[in-house]
Symmetry: D2
Subunit: 346 residues, 4 copies
């Protein structure tokens, strides 16, 4: 089969590799029908994720069709249309028992395109198929489902749910890239009273408005803390969601929340940030971090099927699977291409 | 009357001042029967709390007897034995409506011995008496009640409850001074599976053991992260409680928790700390800060009255009220005096 | 002034009575600008609420203008436009301290038009004004605010919040009168996956559809349990909200929920119901009852002000205050008049 | 092998049957080392549980040693000492994903000694071994572990956790048989302020006192509602736990709770009860029912291992496995034998 193979920092190739087969009794082999590229894949290509070794097939977000299952698999079978989630769950460890699949201690967690071969390929072997694949209802399109492989559960779980959004509360989303926009969309499931989006790119702020932000702030032009406080009785927002991944944006979030507020970090960070405990110790602030667990995937699928949630407007570009190198190029230059999410299909 | 008056950094005096009277309809005047000194009072004396101005009577932890009440006060009256809590609640603002009295926006919060005259005096004016004084059951002694004016609700709310301790969970308490020890005592209300105390002073570690720690670690001798992980399947504790107030101890706490764990900051900090987001972003960690709200004061009083909680072993020294300058001296040199809490009575 | 006075079962009169004045330091006098009639007022008129004695002014839902305040009132003053809520809060008792104002032990709870004179009058004395009146933002009309005096917080707190609705969950609302419709409207703040309305009156089912129900069932025509299970994988709904107040509808709710589901009783009951513990003991069901606390009134006002919630479509008839006896007649015959809520203004 | 086989109502026999073997890839075969008898086994013998058919091996609480595992089993292996829990979990269905194993839709739930052969035998086949067996720490004895197979997680989950006990709250336990006593013991993990035990048998009330009840009430002698209110400011307890299973005791629980309180039903009921909604609708009461899920089994094992919980005092009689018919006789006449739990070992 063909697959996108990592060959060390800066190097990848769509090339011929052996088609995978069943290894463990709990495995499934899935034919990839649609796949997307994640910001994390770009990090890997820069060499920032040393666990990814040369020869690894990349990718952790796909929709496909089951072609074969191991003898212990009972909930999916050949021919089933399924979502291949970015997180695998052994289903047996203490973390999986609590729905914290991202922290799985039994061989799951984020492994696809990371510690084992991923989904940017014609076929993929999926471990723990029973607890890691999600059969798709007929009314959910491949493209909509694909958005639920990583980005939507990440924004919803690590951002919206972690910060305990409730009807009427106020939320600031710092960073209006794909993750921030998915946070703005899923925040609206709880009918917040105010959504403020903050980003330095005007095009992303326009998108934020289109996707539901009430107010947008460009911190290169306006003082975000000042604007947010003027909209919130001088106190700050109930929840600030970090969706960038650099120290400055995290520190901005800590300055945006009111006493009793939440800072939910969604961004992937490479450096430490400064935590101003000399101001925060007295302020009743909660800060949360986390990797997605995908425990909300069934809920999000149900909302899409019911027409309550539409994740597809995030898709800006579409390609054939064989053109994946071109797709990487477009996705890696969002300032020029305005790319949010790209979709590759057979 | 006599009172302990602040005269600028380094200077205080037990001297004659005017006896306070009712100002607002919601005030009460309380005769002080027992009072204690807080670590925060020492900070004020160093000049670290600039909001405290010269001429201010210090102190925010007392037990006393109501002598007069304003016309709008309905729940206490002259002769009632009461706890004067470190936090006053207007009872009307959005924060008070949610039991977050420490963040009161209506004139309450921490004001005694800070923004208005405090309790290290023969009499004190207490604003919002109905929502700030706690009548004492006969079976609760002055000394036991006094420990509930600040230190016990602080450790219980900001440490134990904020970190969601549950039966069987594991907890590390960093800092075994009065606040850390009160955290160790109140943590046991939830029957945790393991309590580890960490401090650099052997005397404090001995106290920690006496008050219920299962294991103690002196980081000048042993690697605390290593010891804690070896006791917790290599993963770390469910909750780490910071009870010191310096960057190093906060950062230690962040290193002690398992994926999915809580860091509850109780300490008063004067400097920022480093938050290692490059490690924590993926780890499902929750960090909380906060000022005590004293919403648990009725619960703690009930537990003391029922014989379920005994806070008095923290009292190491007793003085007459007029000897308060001597008491400050003893309390400010704990390494030599082994002082935990000092009690002054009429 | 003029007021609607109860003169024993079946008898009421709009007549001249003394204008109220300040009694306690915490009172306010409010000029009534808009008022509505509650189903409970009809119960009182039938003699079903013996605590209401002859001579009592009826009514507990109003919007008005403060004309005078007692000396201890600090958060409202003469000229303020305010919502007079159906629940008063002493703000001092253990229940008020937890936001459970409906259970106030200090003289509040449901008292207006019940234990003290109510709001169906030109003026009303409101006890505990600071914790019982809600100043109105300019963008909230009298009519919208009036819907928040009782019916919307009741449906939202006792129905929607008590049953822990979450995005994607399924809910059945049994009874599509004003309370049931307000439940259907406020349920949507949480983006449920499915809303089923059940009622025997076709006109009310039409209203339910208009206000957001996905499916409606008339149990005189279809088996509600069968229909609901067919929509929910054979298991039943996550939450069933009782909004009628008779044994049959409560028992229907208990049959509609899935294992792990909630039955939230909102209806006012006069008779016991049968609880089929022989089926339910094994089923992980939660049943909740409750009087409204109005702790969500500020949230609901914020949602109305932000344009996120519009309660005014429930208003079907409008009258002048002096025509209140005619308004009672219309409101008491909904089957003929199609009345949901009636609004009376000066 | 030998096993206790059900031969229709009133009839059972310790007899020779085929030794079980691995059926599914996820099965394990366990040699039974210790086993106990449950009140439910007596119900089955009366013919009250028609799902149990003739020829079924009884029993669902055991401790044993793994002798063989299916090819998909990864977390236990031959020689492991394990707890065989009363609940099996497929680990894949929506209920198992949320830790609600008792409601498993994938072939688990309560099946042992019910829908498949049970543990009152020399060997047992355990389905879904990875998610249904609990390896035992060396410091937990067989007898202590055996008490965690059903009775302790049942009382803890369905009683103590469901009613949200917290430090300082008050709890009434109605019924002081084995389940009620286990509730009294596990309630103390949360340091409640008051535990009242109610039973008609003096011997059980004595046991209740010994195991931690503060007050006991015999309703044949005293009015339980009156006694409980006199101990709780006239309001009632925060939580009432039903541990009998008849309408009268459930209705008593509903009368014992304060406004805002919880009734947690643990008892197995065969008849409906009357729910006095005409009193309860206004009272903010929460009622919960449920089958045990055993999600707390690892926590309880940890507490036993740490010496924080000792369930063994409930064991009153010990037998050899071959004497199981004698053990049934003793267990079925508790009034004469004072039996609480009986333990049978090889």
């Amino acid at each position: 089969m063909k697959a996108l193979v990592y060959h060390g920092p800066g190097s990848k190739r769509w090339e011929e590799v052996p088609t995978p087969g069943i290894g463990e009794a709990t495995d499934a082999i899935v034919r990839v029908d649609a796949v997307t590229i994640c910001g994390t894949d770009l990090h890997i290509l820069k060499g920032d994720v040393p666990e990814v070794t040369e020869g690894r097939i990349l990718g952790h977000e796909a929709v496909g069709t089951v072609v074969e299952t191991g003898p212990a698999v009972t909930t999916v079978r050949g021919g089933d249309r399924v979502l291949v989630s970015c997180i695998n769950a052994c289903g047996r460890c203490a973390y999986c028992r609590q729905g914290r699949y991202g922290q799985c201690q039994g061989g799951g967690g984020w492994v696809l395109g990371h510690l084992i071969d991923g989904v940017q390929a014609e076929y993929v072997r999926v471990p723990f198929a029973d607890t890691s694949l999600y059969p798709l209802p007929a009314q959910v399109t491949d493209e909509a489902a694909l958005m639920l492989a990583d980005i939507f559960p990440t924004s919803y779980e690590v951002g919206v749910l972690a910060s305990h959004l409730q009807p009427g509360t106020s939320v600031a989303v710092v960073g209006a890239g794909p993750i921030g926009l998915a946070a703005i969309i899923t925040a609206q499931l709880f009918s917040p009273g105010l959504i403020v989006a903050i980003d330095t790119a005007e095009a992303r702020l326009d998108a934020a408005k289109r996707f539901g932000a009430d107010t947008v702030v460009n911190p290169t032009r306006d003082d975000a803390v000042h604007v947010v406080r003027s909209l919130t009785d001088g106190l700050g927002v109930d929840a600030a969601l970090e969706a960038v991944g650099i120290p400055q944006t995290f520190e901005l979030c800590a300055g945006l929340v009111r006493p009793g507020g939440h800072v939910a970090n969604i961004g992937v960070h490479g450096k430490p940030a400064t935590l101003h405990l000399e101001e925060l110790w007295i302020k009743d602030v909660t800060i949360t971090t986390g990797l997605v667990d995908t425990f909300t995937t069934p809920t999000l699928l149900r909302l899409v099927a019911a027409g309550r949630l539409d994740p597809t407007p995030l898709v800006t570009h579409r390609f054939e699977l064989a053109d994946i190198e071109k797709a990487y190029d477009v996705f890696s230059r969002p300032a020029e291409t305005a790319a949010l999410k790209v979709v590759l299909t057979r």
